[in-house]
């Protein structure tokens, strides 16, 4: 069976056989950094194009169709334009923080790429507390947003940043609880263990209704954490013009924009890993022939397919729903999502103890 794991192993062996271990480690790190940046750039371009195409088709339009076949290079052209543009800094802005904020947001997004298993054996860092690492690091991005809003010295930016702060801090809770349901079921925080536990079926099928509820809660919380509509209060175009990135232009704006899409990819990848089995093909316990057939589809395809399905779901939300008001947003979290996820976690714990899952 075709697997990317062999390729990474071959490169690893070759590096350690031809160089001394320190140098080999440095070269490996460099390769990983380059790959991460490459993934970052490509994903940004693809996702922006996908968003525009999805939006267009929902809105009975064609979407970008002029640059390249079917508008494929539209985002490349847009990126080139943004690079060329002058990055303005407002006169009374805190210049250091203003320039730092987009990089901070981007770095957080890149850090989150580390524990994600893109395919069988293709994982930058298989840390034993992977799930904890993800929930810890993903809440850091609010610092970048707050920094941007504060340093811009613009009242719209400040309002947007404060909204974003309140939003991310509260939705972190229900996202955490819904992730915990899977941790309770698998008994491990390591992402590779979680994927391995879904060998005979994905958790969303194995775990009955509580896991499905946890999945829905996770999608809602993920949408809120990435500041996407209907929870895009930090940007809230019709209220705050562009929210926290009102004053940003040129490449610094592009970094915020890219980070937003990378964050979507990451939360969807985590959702796919926890609930839909990551790179694990569709396996049904006991059906050996069927499972073998499914194994012929490469694991990276499974991962990308599941992730993009979730991304499409989030885009679908964005182009259907109106935006919530800021107090309703917090009401939704504290009055509905948090109690439901707490009860749900309790249920899942009972299921796990009694062994009522498949």
């Amino acid at each position: 069976m075709f697997s990317l794991a062999h390729i990474t192993q071959i490169i690893h062996d070759w590096l350690y056989s031809s160089f001394d271990p320190t140098l080999a480690l440095i070269i490996e790190c460099a390769i990983v950094i380059l790959v991460a940046i490459g993934i970052f750039a490509v994903l940004g371009l693809v996702l922006v194009l996908m968003e525009r195409k999805v939006a267009a088709h929902i809105q009975i339009r064609l979407g970008p169709n002029r640059v390249g076949p079917g508008g494929m290079f539209q985002t490349v052209a847009d990126t080139l334009k943004l690079i060329m543009k002058e990055g303005l800094t407002p006169d009374l802005a805190d210049k250091f923080l203003f320039n730092l904020a987009p990089f901070l947001v981007m770095i957080v997004a890149m850090l989150l790429l580390a524990p994600i298993a893109f395919a069988k054996g293709v994982q930058i860092w298989d840390i034993n507390i992977g799930v904890l690492y993800i929930s810890a690091v993903s809440s850091l991005s609010v610092i970048g947003i707050l920094m941007a809003g504060w340093a811009s010295n613009n009242k719209y930016s400040l309002l947007g940043a404060m909204r974003s702060g309140a939003q991310i801090v509260s939705y972190e809770l229900s996202a955490g609880f819904s992730i915990l349901t899977i941790v309770v079921l698998t008994g491990s925080l390591r992402l590779s263990d979680i994927i391995a536990s879904q060998e005979n079926g994905w958790w969303i099928f194995k775990g009955h209704i509580p896991v499905i509820i946890a999945f829905i809660l996770f999608i809602i919380a993920a949408t809120a954490e990435t500041n996407r509509a209907p929870f895009d209060l930090a940007e809230a175009e019709s209220e705050l013009t562009a929210g926290f990135h009102t004053e940003y232009s040129g490449m610094r704006f592009a970094l915020f924009f890219l980070a937003e899409y990378i964050n979507i990819f990451i939360v969807c990848a985590i959702g796919a890993t926890l609930f839909l089995g990551g790179w694990m093909p569709l396996h049904i316990g006991g059906w050996e022939g069927f499972n073998h057939l499914m194994d012929y589809i490469p694991s990276s395809f499974w991962f990308i397919g599941k992730t993009f399905f979730l991304i499409f779901l989030i885009m679908w939300f964005r182009w259907t729903f109106p935006r919530l008001r800021v107090d309703q947003l917090l009401n939704l979290e504290w009055k509905y999502l948090l109690p439901i996820s707490l009860i749900n976690l309790l249920l899942v714990t009972v299921i796990a103890i009694m062994g009522w899952y498949f």
């Binding site: 009975i60 009374l92 719209y156 019709s238 209220e239 109106p322 935006r323 008001r325």
Partner: protein
Amino acid sequence: MYTQTEIIKDTTQLNSNGNEGELVINVGPQHPATHGVLHLVITLNGETIKKIEPHLGYIHRSIEKMCESLTYRQFIYVTSRMDYLSAHINNLACALCVEKGMQIEVPERAQVIRILMSELTRIASHELWVGAMAMDLGAFTPFFYTFREREVINDIMEQTCGARLTMNYMVPGGTMYDLHPDFQNRVKAFIIQFTSKVTELEDLIANNIIFQNRTKGVGVLSAEDAISYGCTGPVARGSGVSCDIRKIQPYSGYEKVSFEEVLEPAGDSYARYLIRIREMYQSISIIEQLIDNIPEGDFQAKTKAVLKLPKGEFYTRVETARGELGVYIVSEGGTTPYRIKFRSPGFSNLSALNHMVKGSKIGDLMATMGTLDLVIPDIDR
């Protein structure tokens, strides 16, 4: 002269001067939610609005003064540029006022055509409003769906009147052309398309839980306040005030068609939304009554080449998509008006905004301002 830094320092002093924690924000003149060049100076306390002060005049083109130098035939076209979404009804108001002064009998066919066109314009305007309102609340998609239906009306207008937005189809004494031979068929096709597609708006907007939470109980205007602020049109009817000029003072043959004046007692943004949706159904029913019963005859009364209004003052009022539009002409007996004054609906409706949103959140401002259906050129003229 201030330098930029000094000005900013000044504003901060102003804010902290006895009013701890207040924030002054300029919404507009360039802002996505104001749909034009409206400038609102908002005093905020956190997210809560304490005061709104609209600043007008960014798109003032002195249309009233301009009309004084144009003849009675010429000045009608300028009024299309006031409330460009109900350009037709503006033109009708002016034509009616001139006809009143000249005592011209308008042929019955022309009157029916005028009603048909007015109601089509009203549907088009409300369709655009629904989309724009949804966009103010963050839902982009309904905007495209409503524009699809509006486009059909625009095409019908283009075929009969020759233009899509600023039609100038009304002339004193009737209409500029007769109806296009294809008009009736296309309007009937439109009615079928409209009735099948308008339910989409219920799925996407009216029944949506987020939309209901955003609009119910938001921007409440009581009936007393609606009257004292001079609100008209769907804004007043959303507060339960009966103010439809088509019923109170029928013009151009509205007394011959049967329709219902839509009223909602709640007075919140959701009521104003429902009013406009139900008004579209009423307009459709008016069109259905008339489309097969257009009387034969002239589309234009015989008028003199040069119109001269007798000395005196003339006032007519009509119901546009936004409310009551009044046209007041003072004539000295010449070929041009001595003075013209328009009573535009948007101006009075905007004046109620501060009262409606004081004490609510910024998001509510957009939900309320959206349902006022402001067209800024109509306010500034």
